[in-house]
């Protein structure tokens, strides 16, 4: 293996480590970040393949899908269920939160490692176990869980209804393990950022991406408790014969929905905030601008986090809750547009007066803003209770949250990878391939999901494996839209091969990056690329905020955080 692939390899003292110690049993935050990143990328391939299989079935019902076979109704349900679960819990979270959190936090706040390195290692090991369990659940008797990623009982609670007795339980076990992994990781992120910052780094000197990962970790820690309790009850309903969600024996299926969405809505912000933070850092570097109103961004993130705990029942408007409750949740949900809109305005304002260079990371960061806006405004339709009566559980919802999650988990991630790849591996990615990959990902993304908005307006409901059973939805114009979306998906998935080639070839053969290829100001750019074990020979001291670009007191257009006046 070439040297560039291994961030810790340059360290003389660690040459005696065995392969297992170095790659599998490491407590180095950078290696754990790589473990999370590569596991997440592998799971993204699985989740993407699932999308391929069920989109082919939707475009060409009954087709023998190449590399998959015929998609039966039960397999279709299992595919959409696990696509959603994997993309959120095994792609978005490990990459955005764990990979970037682990890699960036110590490097950006100027310390040598996480405060609990062994807890960190345990976090990844449990995560890996959870990934094995979720993948294994697809191959047990009866097949993978097929009750949607929201797992509403009684369907999820009783084998006689779901017909996936093992799949349902393994799915729950995998999700619960994943939560444990991220609880351990989150403790580390928060504690490290609070306690291990470089001398001189005050709260307002912390780079935005670190703040966002910390706030996301807090949200996760606070919201996940009720769901773990709920998941335990569901597991017992499945396997021990309890009746927490069984209406025949005094239980209530709606209880699960409250527990699930009390977690589920903040979870959106758990993955959103790191992507928003990555975007902030990237646009500042490539617009050569100080972040407009740093404190405002920070406060809006706090505000979003607090509000996100008060909106959960907008997922349940028509679920049979007291109709009077809908008014409260409409108000809170629409209020969340205030901090989010503010944040977007701030990012747009940051571009003003800049010197914008459209490098690959910048293209991704700008695309995040442009696409995320569409996701944001379409959420208003669904938060407005009256309109949600029609739109609930249609493809409009699906298109909306893919316009949230795709910019977050795919576009935001690519922005981060393109930006920090030189630091991770010491080499530059190929810009031309990067730009081709960018356009072939972002354009097809829109061609996939804009038709799905229209299908949603036309009343197409979700999780249906074959619309020929619904005469109003089986008409040719709507089928043409389904085919269009699927073809665009094929283009987009194919384009990821360009990324994989660029990623791995640049890792070994890319141009050497040097310490600071982007002329950026934050601390991670002051050490070697890749950073040695311990990150710095001498830990840095901080003298100023993270985004000092174009400061009139200085000749260079950037002023690193660690340079004395």
């Amino acid at each position: 293996m070439a040297e560039a692939a291994v961030p810790a390899l340059h360290d003389e003292q660690h040459h005696e480590q065995s392969f297992g110690q170095k790659y599998l049993w490491s407590t180095d935050h950078k290696m754990i970040a790589m473990q999370y990143l590569f596991t997440g990328m592998l799971m993204a391939l699985v989740g993407g393949f699932m999308a391929y299989a069920f989109r082919m079935q939707l475009a060409f019902p009954g087709m023998d899908v190449p590399f998959y076979g015929i998609v039966s109704a039960s397999e279709y349900n299992a595919l959409v269920t696990n696509h959603g679960t994997i993309m959120i819990f095994w792609v978005a979270m490990p990459v955005l939160l764990a990979a970037f959190g682990n890699f960036l936090i110590p490097l950006m706040i100027g310390c040598d490692d996480m405060v609990f390195p062994k807890v960190n290692r345990l976090s990844y090991q449990i995560f890996l176990l959870s990934a094995v369990v979720i993948l294994g659940s697809l191959f047990v008797e009866g097949g993978g869980f097929a009750g949607a990623w929201t797992a509403y009982p009684p369907l999820s609670a009783k084998a006689e209804y779901s017909q996936t007795p093992l799949g349902s339980s393994l799915w729950l076990v995998a999700v619960a393990l994943e939560f444990v992994a991220f609880l351990l990781g989150g403790i580390n992120f928060i504690t490290t950022t609070m306690n291990s910052r470089a001398p001189g780094m005050k709260f307002y000197d912390i780079p935005m991406v670190v703040w966002m990962i910390v706030i996301a970790s807090v949200l996760f820690l606070v919201s996940v408790g009720p769901l773990i309790a709920g998941a335990m009850m569901l597991f017992m309903d499945q396997n021990v014969g309890t009746a927490f969600y069984d209406p025949d024996r005094g239980g209530d299926p709606i209880l699960w929905q409250h527990l699930f969405w009390f977690f589920g809505h903040p979870e959106v912000y758990v993955v959103m905030l790191p992507a928003v933070g990555i975007t902030a850092d990237v646009i500042c570097v490539f617009a050569r601008k100080k972040l407009f109103a740093y404190k405002t961004v920070l406060y809006t993130a706090f505000g979003t986090g607090v509000l996100s705990f008060t909106v959960w029942a907008h997922h349940q408007f028509i679920a049979g809750i007291d109709p009077r409750m809908a008014h409260i949740f409409t108000v809170t949900t629409l209020l969340i547009s205030i901090p989010i809109a503010e944040m977007i305005f701030v990012y747009i304002a940051t571009l003003y007066g800049g010197s914008i260079r459209l490098t690959t990371p910048m293209l991704w960061a700008l695309a995040f803003i442009a696409e995320f806006l569409i996701g944001g405004v379409t959420g208003i339709f669904l938060g407005a209770s009256g309109a949600d009566i029609y739109l609930h559980d249609t493809y409009f919802v699906l298109a909306h949250f893919h316009y949230m999650f795709y910019p977050i988990a795919i576009i935001g991630t690519f922005a981060g990878i393109a930006h920090w790849f030189p630091k991770m591996f010491g080499r530059m990615m190929n810009e031309t391939l990067g730009k081709i990959h960018f356009w072939l990902t972002v354009i097809p993304f829109n061609v996939i999901f804009i038709p799905l908005f229209i299908l949603g307006l036309a009343g197409q409901h979700r999780r249906i494996y074959d619309y020929t059973n619904f005469p109003e939805l089986a008409i040719q114009p709507l089928q043409d839209l389904r085919v269009l979306a699927t073809v665009a998906l094929l283009v987009m998935l194919g384009a990821q091969l360009i990324f994989l080639y660029n990623f791995f070839s640049s890792m070994f053969k890319g141009k050497k990056a040097g310490k600071n290829p982007w002329n950026a100001t934050t601390l991670e750019w002051t050490t070697e690329s890749p950073p040695p074990h311990g990150n710095w020979a001498e830990l840095p001291t901080v003298y100023r905020g993270p985004y000092e670009y174009g400061n009139p007191d200085r000749e260079d257009d950037y002023w690193p955080q660690n340079e004395p006046v």
């Binding site: 747009i348 806006l373 379409t378």
Partner: protein
């Protein structure tokens, strides 16, 4: 907007469509404005040789107003949307006008059973007419539906009415609709309910009073086309 894809066939369908159009107008305005400013700035401030970037903290009042004012205007738009949403929601879901007729709607894996009152006009009597995947209603008549589920969650969705309501085992949920024109339209189950979820479509037949009376006469006395008879206790 919605009515160009799906006909509006209930008394409240147009108010939901109008709410959608209101939101579309407001958020469309903000979306286009933001994107235009966004792309405009990217173009205007593209890197040029010898042009140094400006140092703007964004913390001063005269700078902040560029985001504070748009932000307050967003809040005003939110208020309009909230008022519209709450009014529509109240009419459709919270308010329950008195019924002229009542039907019982029962979801189970994987079919809908609709129990119509027979010639006596009352539900829960011996001459009720139960039909599987067929709902027959009179036009211009205010119906209450009593929605139940026998096994898992289902969702009673009639797109032409803009009506959707989850059915929950162990509960009976009452709601209403009034059809405004005759015709045959689709009914869906909009909540995943197992392997046969994709098969759980039904049809609604909206009939003139005369046609409905003729249908009643033909179906009475009690005929069941159900595969298994749902329990009817009242």
């Amino acid at each position: 907007m919605i009515e160009s894809y799906v006909p509006a066939v209930s008394t409240y369908a147009s108010s939901i469509d109008n709410l959608f159009t209101l939101i579309f107008g407001l958020v469309g305005f903000w979306l286009i404005l933001s994107e235009v400013v966004f792309f405009g700035l990217i173009w205007k401030f593209r890197a040029k040789d010898g042009v140094k970037t400006r140092y703007i903290t964004g913390e001063e009042k005269h700078q902040k107003r560029w985001i504070t004012w748009p932000h307050l205007l967003v809040l005003v738009c939110d208020v309009f949307i909230i008022v519209g949403a709450v009014r529509v929601w109240y009419d459709v879901k919270q308010n329950l006008p008195p019924a002229q007729e009542t039907v019982r709607v029962i979801g189970q894996q994987w079919a809908w059973t609709f129990e119509h009152p027979g010639l006596d006009g009352k539900l829960g009597t011996a001459d009720d007419i139960a039909k599987v995947n067929e709902l027959h209603v009179k036009v211009d008549t205010l119906y209450h539906y009593k929605l139940e589920a026998l096994d898992v969650l289902h969702s009673f969705s009639v797109p032409v009415f803009r009506l959707k309501q989850d059915a929950i085992p162990g509960r009976t949920i009452t709601g209403w609709f009034e059809a405004t024109q005759t015709g045959e339209y689709g009914i869906q189950c909009a909540e995943i309910c197992g392997i046969g979820h994709g098969l759980m479509g039904a049809r609604i037949f909206i009939e003139s009073p005369e046609a409905h009376a003729a249908w009643l006469a033909k179906e009475s006395p009690l005929t069941l086309t159900a595969m298994d008879t749902p329990a009817v206790e009242d």
